[in-house]
């Protein structure tokens, strides 16, 4: 889990639990059962009699949709993983950081569509919306760090965790109080309506925009963390914040930058989400937040590549998983079980790779 001092008491308590032999047995049996369900379910679904079997187009559509959804989740998951890498804390209010960007940019988008600016100068308008969304998310992220987390940095782990949950509820209630509980339709510029055909596959233009923007953002983040001076200090703080501060790195500054980077990514995700689903509401951060946190854990929390991979895996599993693995068993209304399904796969991965897909346990952070 970690080598930092504050984590020791939790580790010590749980390691007694971990050495019990039945625990491993139960987990392996559980893992084997899930693996069986996955394999047998996929086989049964793909060999259903002709009229019940899904068409090839069906799978292509679901995969395209899953990748688009996964790209957004990946961007949010990066925010969780960055903060975890630096501070070893789970910022449960990150879903609300994402919501704030989407919600604040709504007011600009709404004004632009009413004045016609959104459709007459679509690129300029989208750029402004992106900046507004990023600004909104970043502001909330920085305020969160400053007000809710900074004083608790050396407190026991559970304290900032509970604070984060409280902050999450506070931000939701604040948005409901200020802007009302009703969902609002987010305008989509006509330029982004319809779909394009790529290599014989029809892809909605919005999905394409989501996918490309997310990839660009992730590559930029990778370059920033690996090549820039600030990125190097971030990695140093992640490796050991005390030694980093002895080496002259301003830890407070690095932490703020981490929250800013997380906020920027959440702001991008917020705008993409709003364009993809054209609706914003104050509760919109909760479910993507949970899914993205799961993605970060699945990929190996603390690992940037892991968060990105985890996001895409969860997005694909949500879209394809229920149909592929459950339909064959004749499960009614299988799509409503997609979250259960995502968690089952998470358990499966953690049983065999406790550090997550790309995590190595404790070596790689940020």
């Amino acid at each position: 889990m970690s080598s930092s001092g504050s984590a020791q008491p939790v580790d010590a308590r749980l390691s007694g639990f971990a050495t019990l032999p039945w625990r491993r047995i139960i987990l392996v049996v559980l893992g084997a059962t899930i693996a069986f369900v996955v394999i047998a379910g996929a086989y049964k679904t793909l060999t259903l009699p002709g009229d019940e079997r899904f068409s090839g187009d069906f799978w292509v559509d679901q995969i395209v949709n899953g990748l688009g959804q996964g790209a957004i989740l990946a961007l949010i998951a990066l925010g969780y993983t960055l903060v975890y890498g630096i501070l070893r804390m789970i910022n449960f209010a990150h879903g609300e950081v994402f919501m704030a960007g989407a919600f604040i940019s709504f007011f600009f988008a709404d004004a632009y569509v009413k004045s016609g600016f959104l459709n007459s100068n679509t690129y300029l308008a989208l750029t402004i919306l992106l900046i507004v969304s990023i600004a909104g998310s970043t502001l909330v992220a920085v305020l969160l760090e400053r007000i809710a987390y900074r004083r608790l940095r050396n407190a026991p782990r559970l304290v900032p965790l509970i604070t984060a949950i409280g902050a999450s509820l506070f931000i939701q209630s604040a948005f409901r109080g200020f802007f009302g509980p009703q969902p609002r339709g987010y305008p989509l510029p006509t330029l982004l309506e319809g779909s394009v055909v790529l290599a014989g596959i029809s892809v909605a233009k919005v999905q394409l925009l989501v996918f490309i923007t997310a990839i660009v953002a992730m590559v930029a983040l990778q370059l920033f963390v690996n090549r820039s001076r600030t990125g190097r200090s971030m990695r140093a703080v992640a490796a050991d914040s005390e030694i980093a501060s002895l080496m002259g790195i301003n830890v407070d500054r690095v932490v703020v930058i981490t929250f800013i980077v997380g906020g920027i990514l959440a702001g991008i995700a917020g705008l993409l989400f709003a364009l993809a689903f054209t609706q914003v509401v104050f509760t919109m951060g909760f479910r993507p937040g949970i899914a993205a946190f799961t993605a970060a854990v699945l990929g190996g929390i603390g690992s940037i590549g892991g968060a990105a991979l985890g996001g895409f895996v969860i997005g694909l599993l949500q879209a394809v998983g229920p149909s592929l693995f459950l339909k064959g068993f004749g499960v009614p209304s299988e799509n409503s079980l997609r979250d259960v399904f995502v968690f089952l796969v998470l358990i499966l991965v953690l049983v065999f790779r406790p550090g997550g897909l790309l995590g190595t346990g404790d070596a790689e952070k940020v």
Binding site: F58, P183, G185, Q279, P288, N335, D339, V340, F343
Partner: protein, 437 residues
């Protein structure tokens, strides 16, 4: 293995919690249905009202949050009934048997938890004669109806439509409603899809609420009875945003009509996403989706979407409604009604007042004694009462709206603010409970 055992534990717990929450939707199956109407007259005691004290009537409606418009509209209907006690709308409440009426208003939040809190608060007050509510079926079913029923307090709703509330298995003896039973609405939806749309294949989407489950189940049963095939009955989570996977898998069954009577937020998203995924399929929904917000959020996607809803044009034709009631509503609350159920709650309130007048014992000192069981029996004995919403006759299971007219409205011509004119239904039918499955 030893590095991160807690993540596995957290994930396992989360998965189990999700499984549990998915299963908990099945059937609340309250243990009701006992024959307390045959029990002794004053089994639940008598409400004593002092000579100068008001008669306390509970109100459990949703008055905050996203569904507040539904509850506030009914509170307005109830206040107008108080106003009309003296036979005229003059903004001064009338009296009943010489006593003022005082409303104890609780918010039921349109959830089971909210229904429990509101019902518990009202049940704790021994001076409450009866409760007008709830707004949402989820706040009543197995929660409000049971908690109040155990104290012998009548729960009388103007907008609960879930069939289970008045079913043989789940009906609580102190529960009644003037709202229509969704068995009728579901049947008329199925009839419209079969006969007017010529559909042979129907797919349905419901969420975790009893309202949507009752409607889709009723529509599916009646559709199959009319020799149609139901290709899918999918469940969604109302807080989700990406419905494309479920819509895409419904599209594989190639339905003619998709019936998705979910609430505004999910409904607007489904309308927009269904246009992309199944442009040739006719989409139907119900009154839970009928709102100005849906039109604002879904834009062009509402065009050609058929919504079923109580056909208010039927009671709008009444002279009293259009010449006296509606102007009084607008005078007092400064806006047009936000839903149709103000009329149902107005009727429920008047039926309750009539029943109080019948059973209350006026003592010499001016105090009143209202026996609870007798009050309930008087409400249930209502027959042929001419209300705003039509003739009201209560059945043994508490359904007081027996002949219900349901209209089907084609988007964007919906009878809400922001809808196009004319907002008259493209189809309308009247059925009674005996006509439907």
């Amino acid at each position: 293995m030893k590095h991160r055992p807690w993540l596995t534990v957290v994930a396992t717990v989360a998965a189990l919690a999700l499984v549990a929450s998915a299963c908990s939707n099945d059937d609340p199956a309250p243990s009701g249905g006992t024959d307390s109407e045959t029990a002794a007259v004053d089994e639940f005691g008598t409400v004593e009202i002092g000579p100068d004290d008001p008669i306390n009537v509970g109100v459990a409606q949703v008055i905050s949050g996203a569904d507040a418009a539904l509850g506030q509209d009914q509170v307005n209907g109830i206040e107008l009934a108080l106003d009309y006690l003296d036979g005229k709308f003059d903004q001064t409440p009338g009296t009943l048997l010489g006593h003022q009426i005082e409303l104890a208003i609780e918010d039921e939040g349109c959830t089971a938890e909210g229904g429990q809190a509101a019902a518990t608060a009202l049940a704790a007050d021994p001076s409450i004669v009866g409760v007008l509510g709830t707004s949402c079926s989820s706040a009543a079913l197995g929660v409000g109806d049971t908690i109040l029923g155990e104290k012998g307090i009548l729960l009388f709703s103007g907008s609960n439509t879930n069939p289970a509330l008045t079913s043989e298995e789940a009906h609580q003896p102190f529960y009644a409603r003037t709202a229509h039973n969704d068995r009728i609405q579901g049947a008329i939806v199925a009839e419209y899809a079969l006969n007017e749309q010529g559909a042979t294949k129907l797919a349905t989407i419901h969420d975790e609420s009893p309202y949507t489950q009752g409607l889709t189940a009723a529509a599916a049963v009646n559709f199959e009875a009319g020799d149609g095939t139901v290709t899918a009955q999918e469940q969604i989570n109302s807080e989700d945003t990406d419905f494309k996977p479920v819509l895409r898998s419904i599209a594989e069954g190639d339905p003619d009509v998709l019936y998705a009577p979910v609430f505004v937020a999910a409904c607007s998203l489904i309308l927009k996403q269904a246009v992309e995924i199944m442009p040739d399929v006719t989409i139907m929904a119900s009154d839970g989706c009928m709102s100005s917000d849906t039109i604002k959020n879904a834009g062009d996607a509402v065009n050609g979407v058929f919504l079923s809803s109580p056909d208010i044009s039927v009671f709008q034709k009444g002279d009293f409604y259009s010449n006296e009631f509606l102007p009084a509503y607008q005078d007092q609350f400064g806006s047009a009604p936000t839903s149709v159920f103000h009329a149902h709650s107005f009727d429920a309130t008047n039926v309750l007042f009539d029943a109080i007048e019948q059973v209350a014992v006026e003592n010499d000192d001016g105090s009143l004694s209202i026996p609870r069981t007798a009050l309930r029996d008087a409400v249930f004995a209502t027959s042929g009462y001419e209300g705003l919403t039509g003739i009201i006759t209560c059945t043994e299971l508490g359904d007081c709206a027996t002949d219900v007219t349901i209209g089907v409205f084609e988007g964007p011509n919906w009878p809400v603010d922001g809808g196009a004119k004319p907002d008259t239904p493209v189809y309308s039918d009247t059925k009674s409970l005996e006509d439907v499955l």
